[in-house]
Symmetry: C2
Subunit: 420 residues, 2 copies
């Protein structure tokens, strides 16, 4: 059997380590030229595949590919384009197969979250049906840590580390001035549906009474009164209060706190920003001096403080995907299987894509303290190894030296164009 | 002459490296027991001195003091209490001298910005007048970098590095998804009066067209139309636009952008948050998908990504203050004198406190590009060495290991109390 080409695409929100996965895919494929021809990448993810806008990674030198391991963001571009159902919109799937056929793509590696794994699964089905069998391997990625089956998702550990470090640092700051200055500090973190990132803030605490004093999870219905009472108790007891709030925090009726009425100068409901809403609530009730921060993209791009575990696992998932393809597997995704918490040990497993697609893993109730405002020891046991280890990028002139690839285009071969 | 005790106090907003200065003071004083007795610290800064709430640093082991070098925040507490004029409120100054006398304090080291140096200057005058001569040495500190005479201020280089690194990382993220997702990203940074921190964001750019594409300085009157046009040009040319905005950004009539009409759910003008105001402006005009982040305390507490230059200079200023006192100097402040930009060389100088107090150094016009939206090469030359070098703290279990001192109180000796 002669070698066939590979298409690798990044999907959805990028992370500090998705490029480490790309490095794992490309370096592993390059070691097996008898199986894998060229590794192409979709420019801007699946959009590049649909529009036949492919990148020829074989034109990148070894050092550039190796540098992906320490470079955040999506080196080939990513997108939020979700393919519809097979029956509903077969044209997009057929187009993909046309592009695959034109470029002799025998392997499709799709690096993303639940939606993307749904797509890879469907592509594997339609290929068969159209008489162009294609090996589809999903590769897990999401800062939200909400994929099922895998113990954790590459991308999450680094955000978790960033948030835990930031909470610890800001808490030291606030505590040292609380007597005469800011009493309440609020940090807003990502996680629209699942509170894993907010939970990670809990790792900042070392001793009883340490920050964060309150975590607001999307999984626990928000109750103004209980929250405001807790803030006061905390300021009374500790002299200050640090709150970590998930962007997905919501009331029992499902309304997001961030939609609760803040208007901008033009009278529009303000988009985003649950931290200022919580701050306004505290000011109205208690009058405490407060500060708030919204980490937004800084948290998921912060390769400078990436978790060593996360970088290693992100790379390993890329490598494992290629090895699964080489072993003749199809429509599967490599996963991280935890063997033990402490000392931490994990191994690579696999799961059929059909079992991954569109399932969301939330923070289990047993990981949240009874009062709903903190994390339990079980949660700490789970989270701790995921932020362990440092993997600093190289620095030049005081700044991290991140690589930018040439991203040379592959000449087009399909006559027809395609509109997204 | 027998040894006399030292009082060291931290003042104003804390930084990632003010404790490195404390280490410089304490370690240097400990090496000269013939001159310096015990080193006391004011608990919560000058408030501790006024209320006779002193900390005995001699009870801290050497390793704890050494660990201050890598620990952010104010280890002894800080405050925003500004002493009034000598004529206006002599009682506070007299009280300080009473406390100094009771504890045989011969040396007062005040670590802070312009206001604090005004205080140290006045204390040196009143001591003389009250027949209790005291050696007063100011030590520079401020993330705002707005002290005069000194080439730069300890604390600034680390915020500058944090902001430059964060802008580079977020820009990589935004660029990789701009085709189908966020087109404009706005990062709000500190600097109420001076735009040094915003300027530092400009260091993130490596090549023509790189982020940040627009910097909004407090020094340049904000013009909606020119700004919004520039955003559009930038999205047209680059596909995305990254904006760094100083919290002190203001219109030509002096109004802060952050006061420009955002109302919270309770109808109050929203405090803080110029980033969402700028975002709303862009949405109203262009409709681009946007994201914004507010770094707030994270930026000044981020010891994990401190500048090596900054840590070294912060320590050196503490050491120099003690050496100046030992050399019989009074009412002076050590400063950083730049000898050359590249290779970077600097030495320690000194300045009379009278020349430092209440003078603010803004970003000079020559450091801002003609259009008011960027930094010039002269500015880069100035800023580059200040963010150079890494000085990572030790990590334990994935988190920086920051020290917490015992902060044992010194028994009170003054009969009367004092209300702040």
């Amino acid at each position: 059997m002669s070698a066939r080409n590979v298409l690798y695409a990044q999907s959805g929100g990028v992370t500090a380590v998705i490029n480490a996965t790309a490095a794992g895919v490309i370096e592993t494929a390059r070691r097996h030229p008898e199986v894998f021809g060229k590794v192409y990448a979709g420019r801007d993810g699946i959009i590049g595949a649909l529009t036949e806008d492919l990148i020829d990674t074989s034109q990148e030198p070894e050092e550039a590919i190796a540098s992906l391991r320490h470079t955040p963001s999506g080196a080939f571009g990513s997108c939020r384009h979700k393919l519809k159902g097979l029956e509903e919109a077969p044209a997009e799937y057929e187009r993909l197969i046309d592009v695959f056929r034109a470029h002799d793509i025998g392997y499709f590696f799709y690096n993303g979250g639940g939606d993307s794994q749904d797509t890879s699964h469907k592509v594997s089905q339609i290929g068969e049906r159209m008489g162009f069998p294609i090996t589809c391997i999903g590769i897990p990625k999401t800062v939200d840590n909400d994929l099922p089956v895998t113990d954790n998702c590459p991308g999450f550990g680094s955000v978790a580390k960033y948030v835990a470090v930031s909470v610890r640092e800001a808490a030291f700051d606030v505590r040292s001035m609380a007597r005469s200055s800011t009493k309440v500090f609020i940090l807003e973190v990502m996680g629209r549906h699942a509170g894993w990132i907010a939970a990670a803030g809990g790792l900042a605490a070392e001793f009883e009474g340490d920050a964060p004093h309150i975590i607001i999870f999307p999984e626990v219905a928000f109750d103004d009164e209980r929250f405001l009472d807790r803030v006061r108790e905390c300021v009374d007891a500790q002299g200050y209060c640090v709150v970590v709030v998930s962007e997905g925090a919501r009331y029992s009726d499902g309304r997001f706190l961030s939609d609760s009425g803040t208007r901008d100068a033009f009278g529009h409901a303000q988009l985003g920003g649950v931290a200022p809403v919580v701050a306004a609530m505290i000011r109205a009730r208690h009058g405490y001096k407060f500060h708030w921060a919204v980490a937004d993209y800084l948290q998921r791009a912060a390769r400078h403080i990436a978790s060593g575990t996360d970088v290693e696992q992100a790379y390993a998932m890329g490598r494992a995907a290629v090895e699964l393809a080489r072993a003749g597997k199809n429509a599967v995704m490599p996963v991280i299987v935890r063997v033990s918490d402490e000392p931490y040990a994990w191994e690579v497993g696999e799961v059929p894509l059909a079992e991954v697609a569109n399932v969301e893993k939330k923070v289990p109730r047993a990981y949240i303290t009874e009062d709903g405002f903190g994390i339990t020891e079980a949660c700490r046991r789970y989270l701790r190894p995921l932020i362990a280890g440092e993997d600093f990028p190289p620095f030049e002139g005081g700044l991290p030296a991140y690589v930018r690839l040439k991203n040379a285009p592959v000449p087009k071969k399909v006559a027809a164009g395609f509109d997204i």
